[in-house]
């Protein structure tokens, strides 16, 4: 299946992401008690094997919080933070262990997983409501590794189902804090068509 998106369709999908991302940012802001700024959503549609080329510094280490969604056709949700941002977020969440810094403790990892749960839930609520579909998210997984390895591991299994991938992203940063990162929402072409059908029917 090959998918072509015109400017109108791209704008529609970006708007869905903007609403969901806005909800997720608000939830993050409530969680840490600081204003969170969300950037303009970006979107790319490409062959799966080209996905890593859309990420800067694939050799650098990042922290990923990944959630899947059910039913099939929902997005994969990825929150990607530079590792120092993730460490700072763990500190704000009160899960930092001075004797075992980083993500070496279960508490540190589960604090990021819980943040992912809240962010993912906020995004999915608005997506479910907009599309009139009932998405449920999986238990979040937290991984720290090279960005390229993380992306490679996420998109490769999707290659069994499709040749192309649609990725929407939005940068976020926390005011007066070193915390910054990206939300990524990864759709198969089938689920993209589903979103477009729904958005078309809502507009018409």
């Amino acid at each position: 299946m090959s998918l072509t998106l015109g400017d109108f369709e791209r704008d529609q999908i970006k708007e869905v992401i903007n609403i969901g991302g806005g909800n997720a940012s608000t939830s993050l802001s409530r969680l840490i008690g600081k204003p969170v700024f969300l950037g303009v959503p970006q979107l790319f549609l490409d062959r799966i094997e080209k996905t890593v080329s859309h990420f800067s510094s694939p050799q650098e280490t990042s922290t990923a919080v990944l959630l899947n969604t059910r039913p099939a056709g929902g997005p994969l949700m990825l929150f990607l933070l530079p590792h120092d941002s993730a460490d700072y977020l763990v500190q704000i969440l009160g899960a930092w262990d001075k004797k075992k810094p980083g993500l070496s403790t279960d508490l540190a990892r589960s604090s990021l997983a819980e943040a992912g749960n809240i962010l993912g839930g906020a995004f999915l609520d608005s997506l479910s409501s907009f599309l009139e579909l009932d998405f449920v998210q999986s238990v979040p997984e937290v991984v720290r590794d090279m960005t390229g390895s993380i992306i490679d591991s996420i998109v490769s299994p999707l290659g069994m189902h499709s040749e192309e991938i649609l990725v929407c992203s939005a940068d976020f940063r926390v005011e007066n804090s070193p915390i910054q990162g990206q939300f990524y929402f990864i759709f198969s072409p089938e689920s993209t068509l589903r979103i477009l059908e729904k958005t078309h029917s809502k507009i018409s």
Binding site: S149, S156, M160
Partner: protein, 161 residues
């Protein structure tokens, strides 16, 4: 001058005498390295799926990316090296990658990382190419480099297993 060639996901490359072939950061993908010490020639493939027979969608027109599939990537490397008059009998293989970084994509034999490595091993065995070394599986990403002048393969990990 030494040249560095990055072999990205779904790609393969061969070279001789000098230069570096490097895979970039891989997770569940498998990196297949072949090397012939007698001619200082080698190749690298960065495959993301075990085989096109596993695909769960029908493709109009077929897929022309042999480097995408572990089994075909091995064959593509061998054929390219045979065109350079390198004897298959001289080739030695190294495998790296196939990590299982996220449990939500399955664990053990159902994970695509495991299947990628298995498919590469199977095709190498069919072609009678011995695996000299391997660093596969586990839960961490890897970066692989082949120095064509020496045949030395280096594997970088950013985090501890």
């Amino acid at each position: 001058m030494k040249r560095n060639i990055v072999v990205n996901m779904g790609e393969w490359a061969v070279g001789a005498k000098e230069g570096i072939l490097e895979s970039g950061a891989v997770g569940s993908c498998v990196v297949i390295v072949l090397y012939d010490p007698s001619s200082s020639s080698g190749g690298m493939a960065h495959a993301m799926l075990p085989s096109r027979t596993n695909l769960l969608f029908s493709k109009e027109g077929g897929i022309d990316f042999r480097g995408k599939f572990a089994d075909e990537a091995v064959s593509a490397l061998v054929q390219a090296m045979e065109k350079l008059r390198i004897k298959k009998e001289n080739l030695r293989a190294t495998l790296a990658g196939g990590a299982q970084m996220f449990a939500l994509f399955g664990r053990g034999e159902e994970h695509i990382g495991f299947q990628n490595v298995s498919a590469a091993r199977r095709r190498l065995s069919e072609l009678g190419i011995p695996i000299e070394s391997s660093d596969t599986g586990g839960h961490v990403g890897r970066g692989v480099r082949l120095d064509l002048s020496t045949g030395k393969v280096s594997i970088r990990k950013a985090v501890e297993e």
